[in-house]
């Protein structure tokens, strides 16, 4: 932004720096945000009285239920990611290429999950689909809902990626050079969308791993449901897993920022 950098050069014109009060405010805010993280970290090592050790972590590591719930959540996340990308990448791409008028519709749809929150969506899904039982009673029943829940974020990430490309020129260049649609898709479009795809994938991974509403209502033992369950008997183990969740969210966001920044640098 040209304006911002010019303004930055004129910075000395104004005494535009945080005063004592502003610093005090920042310290208070930082305290509020850092304290729970420190407390959670310390609590996860607490072993009664004034003893601190790794017992909560050891117990978790040896707990088969923890691994089962984590594997289930990871499996659901991978399946959600695959389905979303297969559905969404071609749609976003072809809409911008062939039917730009539909973009408005897509944007509206992608904002609908804000109006229909998870708890409402699960009410609708479970009222609408009562069978077949192999579908309704398997955890995979939640995947369509997960795809929808993540849609506002995945759609935005992919749409920004596609809009930044000149898909039309790329496709036409490819076609006139004799490439097939499949070749154009796999060799030209997908590599150019890499950072958008990685970003939306990481977002979905974080969303599905943390998702609690669907699984708790439908009584499936996913990772977040397990954290809540273990918290009833062992607060320290729940704190350890919560810390893991926080670090995981943090890593996912870091990954998104790094891939995003790389794209900008090219």
């Amino acid at each position: 932004m040209a304006i911002a950098s010019r303004a930055a050069r004129q910075a000395k014109l104004h005494r535009d720096r945080p005063g004592l009060l502003a610093w005090f405010w920042l310290v208070v805010v930082a305290g509020y945000f850092i304290l729970p993280l420190i407390a959670m970290g310390m609590f996860s090592f607490w072993a009664g009285g004034s003893n601190y050790n790794f017992s909560a972590y050891v117990a978790l590591f040896q707990d088969g239920d923890m691994w089962r719930s984590l594997t289930l959540s990871l499996r659901l996340a991978v399946e959600t990611i695959v389905i979303t990308q297969v559905l969404l990448i071609p749609t976003v791409l072809f809409v911008s290429l062939r039917a730009p008028k539909l973009r408005l519709v897509l944007e509206m749809i992608s904002n609908m999950p804000f109006v229909v929150p998870a708890i409402v969506l699960v009410a609708g899904l479970s009222a609408l689909y009562r069978g077949p039982s192999w579908f309704v009673s398997s955890p995979e029943f939640m995947i369509p809902g997960y795809v929808i829940l993540a849609l506002p974020y995945t759609y935005r990430a992919l749409d920004v990626g596609v809009q930044a490309l000149d898909v039309k020129t790329l496709t036409q260049a490819g076609l006139s050079l004799g490439a097939s649609w499949t070749q154009i898709f796999l060799r030209v479009i997908i590599p150019n969308l890499r950072s958008a795809i990685i970003g939306s994938t990481l977002l979905m991974l974080a969303i599905v791993l943390g998702e609690f509403t669907f699984a708790n209502v439908l009584l499936f033992n996913t990772f977040a449901v397990y954290i809540n369950y273990i918290g009833q008997t062992s607060g320290t183990e729940a704190a350890a897993l919560s810390l893991f969740s926080f670090l995981f969210t943090w890593l996912a966001m870091l990954g998104i920022m790094i891939t995003g920044a790389k794209r900008g640098g090219r």
């Binding site: 303004a7 930055a8 004129q10 535009d16 609908m112 109006v115 009410a123 899904l125 704190a239």
Partner: protein, 310 residues
Amino acid sequence: MADSHLPASAALPGGASDGHYPEKPAVRRRQGLASLIPWFFIALFFLFITAFLILPSITVLLGAFFENGAPTLKFVRQIFGRHYLHAYIVTTELAALTALIATVAGLVTAHIVQMRGTPQWVRTGITSFSGVAANFAGVPLAFAFISTLGTLGMVTVWLKVIGIDIYSQGFSLFTFTGLTITYLYFQVPLMVIVITPAVQGMRKEWREACDNLGGSSFTYWRRIGIPILTPPTLAGFILLFGNAFASYATPYALTSGLIPLVPTEIGNLLSGNVMAAPQLGQALALGMIVVMGLAMLLYWLLQKWASKWR
């Protein structure tokens, strides 16, 4: 919407040839059947959305008005009964209070962060932390606060050591106050994220123009700063309100649904914790769609209003 890139006819499979690109007919012939592929994927997506978003929403909307196939207002009337009306009121209060505090706190923080004298590491730190914390909700967040301010939480214990027993003085994390404190952990960062573009958009030139015309700092804020920041701030408040109103995991994990909130009440009705009454659950969900729909409509209108200034 005028669309200069694609004539309307080309939006149909095998549409008429296109005057803008003379070389295109040849390309199109080579494609053959392949030109249907885009429409296959677009149709698939809309089919998916219809099956798993639109139809379930309609089911909720209609289900609230039927019992065994006969139309009834029983369930909608029930949500105006004392218990569920109370849940709506408490949820609204919680959402409005946390949104209000977070709007002010987020705005102040974003303003300080965007000041030119603020060190770069503070700016990067707060901006990137906001991205993480705004997404750190649900069960893990609940346990973070149980570790901090729960009965055995670190801060509770530390305060006890220096002679302050907050629980004997009436504080409890598992109450409305506790929920408020916990919600702020994702509400404030969300506001920082939402309002930062607007704060960044405050042009240096406006401040200079005001100074050159003899305006004081007070004049600047009264005549320029506040009027321009009002629409995006209100939009942020609405978004935060909706965000808190729809939260299920955080209050459930924190209070096990003991404080009646609309989302946890719906969850209880669905999973059969109380007498299973899916239609009542749908009626509550209908009320929630109304609230969220209104909030999003307002948000959208405010965004449009705000964009006039950019």
